[in-house]
């Protein structure tokens, strides 16, 4: 039995609060149960040097965790003088996922940076970051449309992500921290809103997994992602 009587393929209650802070062009607080991530999208009319003059845009992301987002305090990366391997891995994943749903040439020479800062961490912070960042980025693009800098929003649809895992004999969707720690296999799945895959990252923490298990994990992820996309769309319809 999962905490709060969740069904195996049921995602945690999702809450997406837009315009959470006042200055970012897109600002979303995304909550998956106790996991809370603030996703702020910044628009800059200026692309990285290696891209200048090509007439296309860029989307990047940074990820951070407040020191006490976790059960015990994690050392502040700014104080230790570098971002750890896990942080870099995650922010690269978020950025790739976002770029996969954007028509970069249609952006013109504009850059979007999405900062995903974890306020509270109860598992699934990278997938929540992607799911929230998609909404923040959409709002940022809308602001460019409103100000006349873009004719239309260059996003091809939302991108959403969820973690799935194998715990004993069960395939579980949207793992929270206690489930994640105990899982044999943990997989992060990133999909477009119409259910195609952008990233699949599965890791056997304990026993290796079979192709059948992989299929079952993907099925579970699909169900979860459909729910997340629904929440994304709902949030944007208000």
């Amino acid at each position: 039995m999962r905490p709060n009587d969740r069904a195996a393929d049921q995602v945690r209650p999702i809450k997406i609060t837009r315009n959470y802070t006042a200055y970012a062009e897109g600002s979303v607080l995304v909550e998956f149960g106790n996991t809370k991530v603030l996703c702020n999208a910044t628009v800059e009319e200026n692309v990285p040097r290696w891209l200048k003059g090509q007439g296309k845009g860029w989307v990047t992301a940074e990820y951070g965790m407040l020191p006490r987002a976790t059960h015990s305090r994690t050392r502040r990366e700014a104080a230790s003088g570098k971002q750890g391997g896990r942080t870099m891995e995650i922010q690269r994943l978020i950025a790739r996922s976002l770029r996969a749903v954007v028509d970069l040439p249609a952006m013109g020479e504009i850059m979007i940076t999405v900062d995903c800062d974890v306020i509270q961490a109860d598992g699934g912070t990278r997938t929540a970051s992607i799911s929230g960042a998609s909404v923040a980025m959409a709002d940022a693009f809308d602001s460019l449309v409103e100000s006349g800098k873009l004719k239309s929003n260059p996003m091809k649809g939302h991108v959403a992500a969820v973690s799935v895992g194998i715990l004993g004999e069960d395939i579980l969707c949207d793992l929270e921290y206690v489930e994640d720690s105990a899982a044999d296999t943990d997989m992060n799945v990133v999909m477009t809103e119409d259910g195609n895959m952008i990233e699949v990252q599965g890791t056997a923490e304990g026993a290796p997994f079979s192709q059948e298990q992989l299929m079952a994990l993907l099925e579970s992820a699909k169900v979860g992602i459909a729910n997340i996309v629904e929440a994304q769309k709902l949030s944007r319809s208000n």
Copy 2:
């Protein structure tokens, strides 16, 4: 005329939300108008090496700003590989202010770290941090009393801080960003809850200031701090 028709010595609307996050021993979201700072106090039963074996405790603080807390995006300190001079200056000030109201020997060999992370910055983030951190620290000490690790809360009272400034001919209390940018002199005042001074840091940005102006600034700060202390006490009485 100040924004929102504030009187010269009137602080912005203060909101102190306790237990804002789930894991920290003390967790406070403090808001002064549009300035919002999350203050998380962590308890560790372990003092810094240079203090070991002396039977007394320690209080320290770290300060950070989310990249898009500001009007335009500020570079993430974790990414640039070091904390800037302003950050270090502020976190040293917060820590000194907190220690000034704690009976360190009464703590035993326990360390409190208060992380002040700015979610949204509209002026006065360091003073808001001190004022919020005082409440978060008080809650953290209470948790030690509840768990029987301390007999009583070793705080001598609250510490609160406010910025005051000279704008043209006016002495203004609790400057917001547009006021701060335009001020000739900016002073941060940290006081105990009974109105004695712990820190006074006044800087002439434009013309130098006179002793009379300094006195007027302190008077204004006193009024503001009295209101902040009231808000601190009220928040803790719930």
Copy 3:
């Protein structure tokens, strides 16, 4: 048509040279076509601090690229003062993959570090690293058995990895650099020698991919990995 008339699911010629350098407890130069990685396994009778006293061992890995392993010179990470995100991501993947086939408690408090340094890069350096490191690690464990420090080799079998990709309509196995750059989807698959999965990391570089394509990619990876495992075993039988 692939370069050198390779079939779609054919891996490049594999060459595994053991005892490539003189001092490491396991030293393997692994070549996949023009990709050449030197994998040196070091034994230390000393585990990381967080593991001390638990009676179990640890396996870790580091990855580097000689500056001129690539077509144009890449900046030396030691000179730029930090390892990039890509490097960290890769060395974490190698280490996880190796640990997945080792019985850590059976090692006792011993640590194996495998350094994977790319001498020449023509695509697939991370998968070549894993495949070569498995052999180097096996040799290092053998040296511990020979010296009487371990009763038997604690590896459960080899771990091998291959990259697969979608290029136009084709599913290709063991991408070389020109193929990798052109691929729509790139997937790294890490398997145990009996064909179970340890890691699956698929990324859509261009269009998203479907579940059918994912299945086809895995099938192709299985074929390739079977060949790699054969080469690993053959090298160890000499």
Copy 4:
């Protein structure tokens, strides 16, 4: 009784040696008793990038301490790889103080950097730095006037600084190290040569301080600063 029978508001013997080194445009060794700081002002015809094209100048400062300026050796900041928080705080204070007495637009696009390096530290190194740097900067500006690059010296007068403190019941001016360590409250005051305030930084190390004490500290600082300004002027009249 103070060391060397100093009166409570008496500064230590001040010695200002101009042209102390040969190459800097302004070079001053300033001594307050045993505290010795070398202040070298460098002129560069080049402003920071963010200021280019605005036709105005800039003044900045750096502060350092020789490792054995102190009673026991302090670690060299160049070796530890970063400047500490105290160093950054001090150099920011020195720079702000110097800029407060310079007519920046009158400088044209010229930058002055004043390096304050502590040769021997017996308390009050930051205030000695400011007082010495003012003379070094004045000499550097004079060199620009002599070479015809400026029509007149753009300084509005000297800036001087002193530390004052409360030790038991006494208000003491220009604390030396043993006094500083024992003081309850320590305040650094920076003033223009005509006695207006530029910076006031007071910190309660022990008990909080009252407004009366603050006033008394300022009175004492005024007396000290008047003596320092006299020494500054005298040194420049030679």
Copy 5:
């Protein structure tokens, strides 16, 4: 008696393999007995900023050691975040030595970077690096002549280096690790192919050395370097 019955002024067996890797403009694996260094020369049509517009070229070098080139594992410099003093000293020496035999103005605004990476270290890695880098650089210049970017190779001849030492009463040439560790004095000598000196760096590790010993060391170095130059020329004649 030296290992492998070497005579006192006999260098170890030298092996120079050109075109060792595929992409560098010059790529040499140089072996002195068990010491193996990969020297890759990179051509860039771009000089450092301080040299731009002067119509002359530049030659620089970087040095690294694979972590397990040594008997016990050495920490990876990229992981520790900086190059150590020994590394910097060596790469500066290699670069100076190479520049001494190049007519920089004849190069035009081209830069050669030679990366010397130690695969296996058994003493004399810096002198092997210089000797191998000379050949790699010559090949890189030849490639520029072949492509018509230079009219002729701007090298004035080879540069070669050897270490010599005093062990007890013996003067030994081309020290291997066990000899180097035991030597009283260790001297690295860099010469042009016609026997003139470019660098002489002698260090007394134990007892100081006399002028007579210095002369004897230089004589021994001359013999060794003549053999190395022969090997360099032979390798290039193939």
Copy 6:
């Protein structure tokens, strides 16, 4: 003709001021003409970790240059976040030179650190550092003898150093900056007080040098070093 009519083998006027600062166990300001270096020796009863328990001592050195010791300002290494290659090379040379004249086992587990900070640089800062550090170290050892911690001073005599160079057809001793910049070959020689060699580092900046020139350089260095040793001894006899 040399500046100030110096003869070819004449060192600049040497001035050695002992007890230059108040707190170091040995403190020497050494001047060679316009080159001025402050050498402070610190005693710590604590050896580096790798030496603990062996009953012997250690001598180390650090070198720095004040930003405006030079004709134009050099960037502060503490601000740029690392010590450059030149600095590391020099401080390693100073430390080796000092250790060569100390009986380390006779020191017991004591460490001497000599900080050499260049106040003014007019050529020969590394050789002046060594020559001054020898005196500072001797004073520090004397203080240990006086306090009864050592029975006798464990130095075997002084160590001194000088730079010599070839300028056109002349062999010059103790190069000042303008000579150093113009020299074809520059050699630093470190000797014991009885004229044996500890370090010889010769570099051809322009044309290579012959063995005859090397001999002539050494002869010139011997003359200079004899004068320096005399000055060292004289300074210690006061």
